[in-house]
């Protein structure tokens, strides 16, 4: 009967309400672990960020430091702990920048339509036509390798896809009847944007945020690996891979450990995003297979 309203049963606990899957728990724990290290790193790390602790370069695991030493004899373990700060913080800032640009322009294009949409969309497409790494290389090459330039460049490069997603969302939601109703009431663009469209696009945008965050980590690590990202002696995981890649031939794991850490971060973030998306769609992948 249609007039009988289904009332959601009160959730037993917060965790039951989240409907965590084991993949989400695993990914969440990994991310939490890195976050704690990022916060309390300097107190945990046995040595300083750039402190040379041994005369032996590329010392194997167990000798020198806990995870061996790198090409200058610095402690890999300590640099990893310091590196998580740089890696996470830079990724967060660049993602926030890309969202600030992408979402604002994307929604504006979807609502204002007309020439604004055409101009902005074509510019974004022109940017997307360049391979993103190449674009970043050119910009950083031209303006020099400072953290500000790095963060802004990566943020802008990432914002192109955020723009596409939010423009599509804006177009989709913008033609819904409740937005029409607000328009018929005489509401202005700002109200329609912030009160009608934004709250209804939060779920896909949060999922997108997770994905962009992952891309940002990979992108920044890639740039560091190319020598254009964070500069020594600061510790950054991508940079650590680059510094120590020569050690691979000497049997050193100094390049592999930060690479594995990057992988753990991105895989966990992806798993968490997957879980969130499935939760929004009502079913997890495991439940779908079950049918």
């Amino acid at each position: 009967m249609s007039d009988a309203t289904e009332i959601a049963t009160p959730r037993a606990s917060v965790f039951a309400g989240l409907r965590l899957t084991w993949t989400a728990v695993l990914a969440g724990s990994v991310l939490l672990f890195w976050l704690i290290l990022a916060l309390f790193g300097p107190w945990i790390a046995p040595h300083g960020e750039a402190e040379i602790i041994s005369g032996t370069t590329f010392a194997p695991i167990g000798e020198g430091g806990l995870l061996g030493t790198d090409k200058l004899g610095r402690d890999v373990f300590s640099r990893l702990i310091y590196g998580v700060r740089t890696t996470l913080l830079l990724a967060l800032i660049t993602t926030v920048i890309s969202f600030a640009f992408g979402v604002t322009l994307g929604f504006a294009a979807a609502i204002l339509k007309g020439w604004f949409d055409i101009v902005v969309s074509r510019i974004v497409e022109a940017f997307m036509a360049f391979p993103s790494t190449l674009l970043a290389l050119v910009v950083i090459g031209a303006f020099g390798t400072s953290i500000t330039v790095l963060v802004l460049t990566v943020g802008l490069v990432l914002s192109t896809s955020v723009f596409r997603v939010s423009r599509a969302l804006g177009y989709d939601i913008g033609v819904m009847d409740f937005v029409e109703a607000a328009r018929a009431r005489g509401e202005g663009t700002w109200w329609i944007l912030t009160r009608e469209i934004l709250p209804n696009s939060m779920a896909p945008l949060i999922a997108e945020f997770g994905l962009r965050f992952t891309f940002s980590i990979l992108f920044l690590s890639g740039l560091s690996f190319l020598g254009l990202g964070v500069q020594e002696p600061a510790a950054d995981w991508g940079l650590m891979v680059q510094e120590n890649v020569g050690g691979l031939f000497l049997g050193s794991s100094a390049a592999l450990i930060p690479a594995a850490c990057i992988a753990s971060l991105t895989v966990s973030m992806n798993l968490l995003v997957d879980w969130f998306q499935q939760r929004q769609q009502g079913e997890t992948v495991l439940e779908k297979i079950d049918q």
Binding site: S2, T5, E180, R185, G186, N200
Partner: protein
């Protein structure tokens, strides 16, 4: 065993995202014999679609068949492997969905899709199957049966596409055909041709069929037996004649009462001539992009009265509402709201003018922001138009809820926690929050169950008496309009073909199109379909389709009375008849049907 399908004690469970499983179908048993049509009727949520899907051994995502036996052709299909069950579908049992437009792949030719299932099941090669399909097209009375398969889905009309959907379902010669609301989305005039085609082909092939619908008048035409469902339980079962004429259960009787409201056809109450009409639309021409939908439409809505706008889908009813509301700017013409000229676009209208004219949309679900509480949804127009804030706003929201017969406590709820009828009441309350002079009701009851819709109409009536608000009531449902409107405007292909007080419009002389509309409304009488489908009007109407921007009379290509050389060339004159009736037609008054 002559029963094609036997369902014993079927139980189906479903769950909302993240919730626990709740029963949807609670132990229903039924059987369908060869050549028999069983109708499942009930309101939305009664489990009728779920049962029909379960008879293929299928449950929607998020649902599961929790118990019971489903015997098809002497086998319990729940005991089969998923692969075997898959092989049944499209072979022994096939399914016709509500929306043919959504069921056809727009990128493939129709013929290819019709023979897809039998080809997949290895029932023959493409050439023989195509020949069988052409035979089916002929039986289904489709125009150009030999070439229709070569067309793409968008190249045929909605009614034809629905019949092609039936051809697709019949192409594999199924023993059981499941029809899930196959005519609900169609206009009344199209519904007749489709119903007739379905009925003939079922009779012709001797197929057993399950017909799912909420429309009792349609059921009366096609079903042999009726099973009434409520909340996933069987209420009553019996032969069609018995259920229609002698329903035993109280719920069935209630359903029957709500089906067709009695036309009230009041004598035209003359609105005081001194008062300007709340809406006065003069010679409106409007459209989207290069397309012109409305041409030269004039409509007046007097204060505190109801003007019904009727017509088939695509005739410009909704566009008219959007133009009046300023959502779609008009190209030519003029709109006056409460005597004052209103700007074409909503952006240029002052708040006073916006306040006077509110719009309520068809889809109650999508018209409410799912992320706002009811209190905010209703509170915003109060704040926006009247500057109410804080305590006063909360009070007024409660008053509005009471006005539309909902409890005050609903203010804290989200739209998702409400039923369809309740949502539509909220939509109405939001319009009322502006304290308008007129409300544009765009198909407000079309998406609702008959019982719920009747409640909303009652509410509209009482609000009109209480608040003196006027309505422009847009609908394709003639019986609702007839029960409710003081004046009626009949639109066809974006032009006004007939207009006047409802009593005069709904009695002869008619415009040929009005006549067609009226005779197409299904009657709750067995055998009605056969009578009406054979009339010249129905045949002529199904032969052509709506042409927008025709040179002469837009209806000329579907009209039995069309005068060749006049109607298709010259735009029809508007004739004024006694009783303030206006008809745009070439026919002399005495020859009008």
């Amino acid at each position: 065993m002559s029963d094609i399908l036997t369902i014993k004690n079927l139980r189906v469970e479903g769950r909302p995202p993240g919730g626990a499983y709740v029963p949807i179908v609670k132990g229903v048993s039924l059987n369908v014999a060869k050549g028999e049509v069983l109708a499942l009727i009930g309101e939305s949520g009664s489990g009728k679609s779920t049962i029909s899907l379960a008879s293929m051994g299928f449950a929607r995502p998020g649902c599961r068949i929790a118990g019971g036996e489903i015997w098809l052709n002497g086998r319990d299909i729940m005991k089969l492997s998923p692969q075997d069950r898959h092989a049944l579908r499209g072979d022994e049992v096939s399914y016709v969905a509500q929306s043919a437009a959504a069921s056809f792949n727009p990128a493939l030719r129709i013929g290819k899709q019709v023979i897809e299932a039998p080809l997949w099941h290895g029932a023959g090669d493409a050439a023989t199957l195509t020949a069988t399909a052409v035979d089916l097209y002929r039986k289904l009375d489709l125009p150009n049966p030999d070439s229709v398969g070569e067309k793409f889905p968008h190249q045929v009309s909605g009614g034809q596409l629905q019949r092609l959907m039936a051809a697709m379902a019949m192409s594999c010669g199924p023993d059981l055909l499941i029809l899930d609301e196959p005519t609900t989305a169609l206009d009344v005039t199209t519904q007749i041709e489709v119903l007739k085609a379905f009925k003939d082909i079922i009779r012709d092939q001797g197929t057993a069929a399950i017909y799912v619908t909420h429309d009792l008048a349609v059921v009366a035409q096609v079903a042999d037996r009726i099973l009434v469902l409520k909340n996933g339980e069987m209420v009553e079962e019996g032969p069609t004649a018995q259920i229609l004429h002698d329903p035993q259960h109280e719920y069935t009787r209630m359903l029957m009462d709500a089906v067709r409201p009695a036309p009230h056809l009041v004598d035209h109450v003359d609105a005081s001539a001194a008062q300007a009409p709340v809406i006065s639309a003069r010679n409106i021409t409007a459209g989207y992009g290069a397309l012109t939908i409305l041409s030269d439409v004039s409509v007046d809505v007097p204060a505190a009265s109801v003007v019904g706008v009727i017509g088939e889908s695509g005739c410009g009813k909704s566009t008219l509402a959007r133009v009046v509301a300023g959502l779609t700017p008009l190209r030519e013409g003029e709109i006056r709201l409460d005597g004052k000229v209103a700007a074409p676009s909503v952006k240029d209208r002052p708040r006073d003018s916006l306040k006077d004219c509110q719009i309520v949309f068809q889809m109650a679900d999508t018209a409410l922001n799912p992320r706002q509480r009811i209190g905010d949804i209703l509170g915003r127009p109060l704040e926006f138009y009247q500057g109410l804030k804080g305590r006063a706003r909360v009070e007024k929201v409660g008053d509005l809820l009471e006005l539309v017969d909902l409890p005050r406590s609903f203010a804290t709820r989200f739209p998702g926690e409400l039923s369809g009828g309740q949502k539509q009441r909220i939509n109405l309350a939001r319009a009322l929050a502006a304290d308008p002079k007129v409300i544009l009701c765009d198909e407000v009851t079309s998406a609702l169950d008959t019982v719920v819709a009747a409640g909303v109409i009652e509410l509209l009536k009482s609000l009109k008496d209480k608040l003196g608000v006027a309505y422009m009531f847009i609908s394709h449902d003639l019986s609702t309009v007839a029960s409710f409107a003081d004046e009626v405007v009949v639109l066809y292909a974006g032009q006004v073909v007939e207009k006047g007080p409802s009593k005069v419009v709904f009695s002869p002389p008619f415009h040929p199109y009005t006549k067609l509309l009226l005779s197409s409304v299904p009657e709750m009488r067995q055998g009605w379909l056969e009578g009406v489908a054979d009339t010249g009007e129905a045949k002529a109407a199904s032969a052509g389709s709506v042409v927008i921007g025709a040179k002469g009379c837009p209806f000329a290509n579907r009209c039995t009375h069309a005068i060749v050389g006049t109607c298709d060339v010259t735009p029809p004159p508007v004739r004024t008849l006694p009783g303030e009736l206006e008809i745009a037609c070439h026919l002399p008054i005495e020859e009008m049907p």
